[in-house]
Structure formats: structure tokens, C-alpha cells
Symmetry: C2
Subunit: 125 residues, 2 copies
DNA sequence: ACTACTATTGCAACATTGTCGCAATAATAT
DNA sequence: ATATTATTGCGACAATGTTGCAATAGTAGT
């Protein structure tokens, strides 16, 4: 299936690029008016399929999306931790990769690792 | 707030104990008839508050609960990974703890780490 | 430019999940 | 027994993410 370039897709990508944090569909909806919720999800999921972004599931069950800056380019995966601040609720990608070893016979798929607590800014207050 | 012993709570605890995997409220509802969904969640959350169980958020955003067998007793935390099979959907606790280091100024809270893929049984097929 | 193909979008509807307020019930201590 | 209050059930709710369908609009080929 070949991707097409659409204004909507470009807008979502622009927002993703402009953010230092992983964002939820809500953030996107707040930044673009007149874009359907279903469309946002479809675009974001397409980005994930294409290896452009990755998805983080937060402790509240919500999905956050971030561009793949810290991810390995070759042998693409997302074995880094994320951090969500309980106060400002921002989700950020950590640089350091996690070593993952699976039991015999298991096959790897995805990794979703999230720490929570207080970020540098919020803990200082 | 002092806890009380109720039949409902005991039933939920019995089910938790009988399972080798982390379970969702659904599993409990399937095993006990006539118990309210809200009540299940309240009981499970109370178990978590009391350090009896811990909560795992899966990639579908659903909450799973497991008794604290593998968790550290002293200085109680849950720094172990979990694994959910994409086929049988079971969620299990891994034994090995993860080393977690936070950036300067951050304060730790919780860790939610989930691997997904195929478990030993399902990968064999 | 025109056309055909089909990826993408918007809309509406839906299932599901987890939470909350409130009144009724029942566990606990006196 | 009685008083206190933790727990439960019920109903309602908001929110999230997905899907089917018809309409729209990229894209490639002529």
C-alpha cells in the first residue's frame, strides 16, 4: 500500500516534529482544528507502521506518540524507557537503551517501558 | 482507613492466588458471578495500595493485576518486566529485576514494563 | 489535461474501560 | 445491642480507540 502526501498528514507530522515530548491525540486535536479524531489515530498508526514514530502506552491507558529520534535506525526497535511526570503529565523518551532478554522459546515483539514520578522541573517545586 | 474482611474481597483474592498470570477485571468477572464491575476495580486497587498486588498496563491500555510474588518485600517496588503474548494474551511476571536510573532531579514513582511477542507455548505452534 | 485507481478522510456509531456519587448494606469495635 | 464507617451495588458518565461506509482527493498513466 503506497502512502500519499496529504495536508492533514503533513500537519500532524509538523506538530510531532515541533514537540520535545511524546504526545497524545489530544495534543494534536488542540493544535489542529477541524481534524477528525479517527483520522488522527489512523495517521499516527500509519507513522508507527512506517517506522517514523512509536507508540507509548501510559499508565492511564492512553496512547502517546513520539517521532523516532532515539530509536536505532538499523534493526529498528524501541528499547528505550519513557518517563511520564505525574504532575505535568509530559511523556519523554530516555536515551539509554534497555537490555532485554527473553526466556527460551519466546519471540520478541515490542517493548513498552514507562517510568513515572516527578520530572526535573516539577520535583524542584 | 482500616480494611475489612468481606466475602467479595476474599473471593477476588482467591482467584488472584489461583492464577499464574496477571489478570484483568474480565477474568475475575468470568469467575465470580454477581459482582459489580466497580467493586472489582475498587478491591483490586485496594490490593495495590496495600502492597498485596501490582498493576500492569498492557499495550491495549487494559489493566492487569498480579499478586506480589516476585516483588521485593523490603523497600517494596515492582521493577520487573512483564510479558504479554500476542496470541494467547496472557500476561506474566518475569523474575529478573530491571536496573533503573533516573536523570538528576527526577524522583521515582512507578515502573511499568511490558514486553510483547509470542510466549513459549504459542511460538512453538 | 483528463482519467482511472485507490489511499485517505469525515462522519456516525459503537464497544470497552475505568471512575464516581449516592444510598443501602454489613463488618468491626465498644 | 449499638454506633461507626468501610464496603458494595447501581446507575451514570467521560474518554478512548476502532470500524464501516460513502465522499474526497492524491497519484500515475495516457
Amino acid at each position: 500500500m503506497k502512502r500519499r502526501n496529504t495536508p492533514t498528514k503533513e500537519k500532524v507530522l509538523t506538530i510531532l516534529k515541533s514537540q520535545d515530548y511524546a504526545i497524545s491525540h489530544e495534543t494534536i486535536a488542540d493544535n489542529i482544528i477541524d481534524i477528525n479524531r479517527a483520522t488522527i489515530y489512523r495517521i499516527l498508526n500509519r507513522f508507527c507502521e512506517d517506522g517514523l514514530a512509536h507508540k507509548i502506552v501510559a499508565e492511564n491507558g492512553k496512547q502517546y506518540f513520539a517521532l523516532c529520534k532515539t530509536c536505532e535506525v538499523k534493526d529498528h526497535h524501541h528499547n528505550h524507557l519513557h518517563f511520564q511526570c505525574n504532575n505535568c503529565e509530559k511523556v519523554e523518551c530516555f536515551k539509554s537503551e534497555i537490555n532485554i532478554s527473553l526466556p527460551e522459546g519466546y519471540s520478541v515483539g515490542n517493548f513498552n517501558g514507562l517510568l513515572s514520578g516527578l520530572c526535573g522541573n516539577c520535583a524542584a517545586d
